[in-house]
Symmetry: C2
Subunit: 346 residues, 2 copies
Amino acid sequence: MSNELNNNPHRRYNILTGEWILVSPHRTKRPWQGKTEKNSAERRQEYDESCYLCPGNTRASGETNPQYTEPYAFKNDFSALLPDTPEEKVNNGLLKAKSEKGVCKVVCFSPNHSLTLPLMETEDITKVVKMWKKEFRELGSMEDINYVQIFENKGAIMGCSNPHPHGQIWSHSSIPTEIQKKSYHLKEYWKKNKRSILSDYLTQELELNKRILSENEYFVALIPYWAVWPYEAMIIPREQHQNINQLNEDEEKAFAEIIKKLTIMYDNLFETSFPYSSGIHQAPTDGAEYPEWHFHMSFYPPLLRSATVKKFMVGYEMFAGPQRDITAEMAAETLKQLPKQHYTKQ
Amino acid sequence: MSNELNNNPHRRYNILTGEWILVSPHRTKRPWQGKTEKNSAERRQEYDESCYLCPGNTRASGETNPQYTEPYAFKNDFSALLPDTPEEKVNNGLLKAKSEKGVCKVVCFSPNHSLTLPLMETEDITKVVKMWKKEFRELGSMEDINYVQIFENKGAIMGCSNPHPHGQIWSHSSIPTEIQKKSYHLKEYWKKNKRSILSDYLTQELELNKRILSENEYFVALIPYWAVWPYEAMIIPREQHQNINQLNEDEEKAFAEIIKKLTIMYDNLFETSFPYSSGIHQAPTDGAEYPEWHFHMSFYPPLLRSATVKKFMVGYEMFAGPQRDITAEMAAETLKQLPKQHYTKQ
Ligand SMILES: O=P(O)(O)O[C@H]1O[C@H](CO)[C@@H](O)[C@H](O)[C@H]1O
Ligand SMILES: O=P(O)(O)O[C@H]1O[C@H](CO)[C@@H](O)[C@H](O)[C@H]1O
């Protein structure tokens, strides 16, 4: 890429969604008098009696958590989707609606209230990966479940209502917008090239080596060329798997390892417990074949310049499209140079 | 609509973007232990010497604001887009980028630092409408400007870096994603029916009278059936105008009046200065004909249950698609019943 473009306002194309992102690299010096967040570096205890996710505690539903010692999944007590929703439709002029069936689960990553993924041992993150596989398999094989969205909201500024290390899974009968977009673009490429677009993209990124954050035998973590959030990153398996259930034991471990490495970089960036939403995008579970799919995990972290100043996706971004200031290359460069040990353990 | 569906999880279709929204009305009783915001009800002075938007003050660029007494627009000192960006392209395998030219402006709504739109007189908001028209006309007629996005970020939680009443205009050569989506759906309907989809939608909503918030001779404010944000609203001109420049004097005033009414409802809801991002969507300015376009103004406010608890568009929403708890009808019902006078003046 020419250096010139890199310093001037430009738009970049997202090969997975077909959408463009506005990049304004010259704007990094903008002064900030706006909102700042609290630095969330508080130390938590390993067990919190008021936490409804800790082992042995009773939840709002009246159910009591078992004394779990490994990742623990249960049905969300305030599920946004329910399995027994009656089938109904609205088709009244320009008003269109449909009932939606689904199952929402919560996955506690660890019994230890004080941990987060970057602070967990690789071996314990591997257990989380195994749990995701199991849930994906079980939910995905249910009749009304055609898509399984695994995600984590980390940190209060990402709407996380409880700091106990946990993620969620929302699964349902329709194929969500974001997956429809990606399916379309993955498929277009597949039809033409009989190859996964993400495999080819990975080959190109590894050759250029400008946005790679970390790699191991089975996975690569990088800042995608079209990143929207300041330090947005993506973990891509080298092998084209349609979904996480296809991971073998070595790959599970390698996946856990690279998640740990990436989230340590994040925490080390501003020496704070780095907030983000992460999610795994994979093939639908409606029984159709998805030879074009290549699962990947993305991280959308909002922090921009410090533990207390975040990027807002507001006015222009809501009404027109995403905008960022630092380039993907600047973000990769910064993250790569950080120490590999978690800052609390250095 | 059947009452049943209204209480059960369902998806609604957005006729303007072609996307679906997940609605979970049964979930309104979810407990909240998460992040709360500061209530921003502080009273501000009419002039703040440290505010770079107040009349007579000097901005970061070194320029001094005139002693303006009416809405005042100037080039953003930290513009995300620049008019003289050299034309360049990246087309390297799967990496695609293009330079982008544009102009970013700031519009001060009033010289009075302590005001916001709901606190301004209709006659002064009318002057803001006139200023938007003028800017739309001038920017839109520039050679490289094919789209003019007028918007406001109000409140610190909406990334607003200065409480002085102001909005922004970002204008540029490409047509943004959100406009492309809407153009497509407006056009599809136009081709079939030779009518604006928004005119027909308005007719239907007025007849149903379940989501109407306020109306006058020229404009209607309503909660769209497919609203995403808890109290999202839309102002639609009864007459099909492609852009705001087509408003006559009476319509300008009616537009100002309905903006005032809607934003007063917002402030009165939680008795706070209600944060939102608002934006005007209108036809591109690339010289083509847009007979299908029908301009409208939308408000995306994040507050959910109080001045301090907002809705987060995070994990599921980022990776799958938007989700809301209260229905559009519940939101409309609540807003409609509020006193019509601003709470600080009651
Ligand atoms: O230009 P401002 O007011 O400094 O910035 C604000 O609005 C912009 C346009 O929506 C956003 O990109 C920024 O994240 C937000 O903080
Ligand atoms: O289910 P939770 O953790 O209470 O809620 C959180 O995640 C959900 C899924 O992304 C969001 O809809 C909520 O806004 C957020 O607060």
